[in-house]
């Protein structure tokens, strides 16, 4: 029986040791049989053997298989694609819990993983993986299953065109600013599908609230970023970041940045705009009936959206990866990204929840008007040649 964390780590290390020791005996003979099938250009068996202990050679081999760091597959699946986004999402969850706890004079997660509870999201993940999946009897089963997958797919597809540095990106497009917003436009639909399929009154009310909220805040969100487009004359994120070499757009477009920040809070259903999940009013809103990994996928989708929107804020207003040259661009980007993530998390510690009518009034009456004013400011600035 394994009972402590140390025993577990010891067992895993022992397993690794034996695996490395035994793999030449079992795995390599199989590899030799498989090599001709894949048609890799390996002249001698010896090369594989050297590759197994030489990372540089191994990298070359992997690249030949079409799985290397510069291959599309790696970009989509690992970095800067899905795995990286999921990792940032996980760190965000932990960071959020610790930050909120510190504000509230607590310590937050502490014991999962020996150091400061840093494995807490992993524990939650394993827990959710092992939970029973309950599909309510009266639920619309097809859509009930579809919603979590759609949510994750939506989050993942947002990653496609957003660059992390001049060299790190999945796909390049002249309209890379518009594409994420076009995809985000689908998110009310996902929420509504999830809410409707649950066939639960609280979920239904939550879904309707989400629909109202997301519809009301998408318009000011789009208009607020148009100011940046006017200043640069491009929809390409690469060019927008390049244009901020000398001055970040948060200075000429301060109003726009604030509107974009508020609409991010609303789009992510964060406090004070967390009405669709308002616990004390409507249980968990549109998430009410979801169990186990369904719930996990929905949450992961939301947190990947969180990452993408924080990233967009960084790219549009905080100069993206621009920064002094002593650090690589992607490090600058991540530093700014976590600053923005903190900004998005922090209202949860200091603000109560708004009411639906107040929220909609802010959205339709104030933010749209302000975003148009911001657009005019941008036009004037661009005609004066500020940038």
């Amino acid at each position: 029986m394994i009972e402590t964390f140390e025993e577990f780590v010891k067992r895993i290390l022992a397993l690794l040791f034996w695996f490395i020791l035994l793999s030449p005996l079992i795995i390599f003979p199989i590899l030799f049989l498989l090599v001709p099938i894949f048609g890799i250009d390996v002249t001698t068996v010896n090369e594989i053997l050297t590759a197994s202990i030489d990372p540089i050679k191994a990298l070359k081999l992997v690249e030949e298989l079409g799985l290397g760091p510069s291959s599309t597959f790696f970009k989509v699946v690992a970095f800067p694609g899905f795995t990286f986004a999921a990792l940032v999402a996980t760190i965000t969850i932990l960071y959020e819990r610790k930050l909120i706890a510190k504000t509230q004079l607590r310590v937050g997660p502490l014991y999962a993983g020996r150091f400061e509870g840093f494995l807490q999201p992993i524990a939650d993940l394993f827990k959710l993986l092992g939970k029973e999946l309950i599909v309510p009897e009266k639920a619309d089963k097809a859509f009930f299953w579809a919603a979590p997958i759609l949510s994750l797919a939506l989050g993942a597809s947002l990653l496609a065109v957003i660059p992390l540095s001049p060299t790190i990106y999945i796909a390049r497009s002249d309209f890379s600013l518009l594409i994420p917003f076009a995809i985000i436009g689908f998110s009310p639909l996902v929420v509504l599908i999830a809410a409707w399929a649950s066939s639960n009154k609280f979920a239904f009310i939550g879904g309707l609230r989400a629909l109202h909220q997301l519809a009301a805040y998408e318009i000011p969100m789009l208009i607020s970023i148009l100011g940046v487009v006017v200043l640069t004359g491009s929809f390409d994120l690469m060019e927008i970041v390049e244009a901020q070499k000398n001055m970040w757009f948060i200075i000429p477009q301060f109003l726009g940045a604030i509107i974009f920040y508020i609409t991010i809070l609303s789009e992510l259903e964060r406090v004070p705009f967390d009405l669709p999940e308002a616990e004390t009013e409507i249980v968990s809103g549109w998430l009410t009936e979801y169990t186990g990994m369904h719930f996990g996928l929905l949450q992961l989708g939301v947190y990947i959206k969180f990452y993408v929107l924080a990233l967009l804020f960084t790219l549009l207003f905080l100069g993206g990866w621009n920064g002094p040259a002593f650090l690589p661009p992607v490090v600058w980007l991540l530093t700014k990204l976590f600053f923005v993530i903190s900004l998005i998390i922090f209202p949860r510690a200091v603000l109560p929840r708004l009411r639906l009518d107040q929220l909609i009034r802010i959205g339709w009456a104030w933010l749209i008007a302000l975003s148009f004013i911001n657009l005019f400011i941008a036009v004037i600035e661009s005609s004066l040649g500020v940038i």
């Binding site: 029986m1 394994i2 009972e3 964390f5 577990f8 067992r11 895993i12 397993l15 819990r97 706890a101 509230q104 004079l105 607590r106 310590v107 937050g108 997660p109 502490l110 014991y111 999962a112 509870g117 494995l119 807490q120 992993i122 524990a123 939650d124 993940l125 394993f126 827990k127 959710l128 993986l129 092992g130 939970k131 029973e132 999946l133 309950i134 999940e277 616990e279 249980v283 968990s284 809103g285 998430l287 009410t288 009936e289 979801y290 169990t291 186990g292 719930f295």
Partner: protein, 170 residues
Amino acid sequence: MVNDPTLNLLVAKTSDLFGNAIEKNVREPLRYLINWGRLYSLWPVHLETACCSIEFGAASGPRHDLERFGMLEAFGSLRQCDVLVVQGTVTRKMAPRMKWVYEQMPEPKWVIAMGACAISGGLYVDSYNVLQGVDKIVPVDVYIPGCPPRPETLIQGIIELQNKIRKSKV
């Protein structure tokens, strides 16, 4: 058919060896991992049955902070919860509802009976409207005595539950 007893023994020994190896090196770490996830991520249902709920509230406050153990305070829907903390007396009116709540929670789920009233009826053992012990309607994993239990006692009970999960089979 091979009837040689030595060969049979050899086959048996080898399969034993492989079985043990798989048991020891694959299933046990996996079991540990799943249990580890579960024990650090116990989300309690928000079902207040009686007055012990204020000590539960105090336990999630800053001084005792249940979130250290991965318990999220006041989590919304019971569909995402793992542990039902019966916070005190269960009355005849509450009992069917509580059983219903328990049945709606997804597996695996645990029950903590908090306070003397939840264990046996406690101070209200002779009342006409009180269930004498919650274990009559739901299976209980950990009993926490006290009237009401101090937050420290509640935390002790949660650690006991974690120990129980750590040793449980998957």
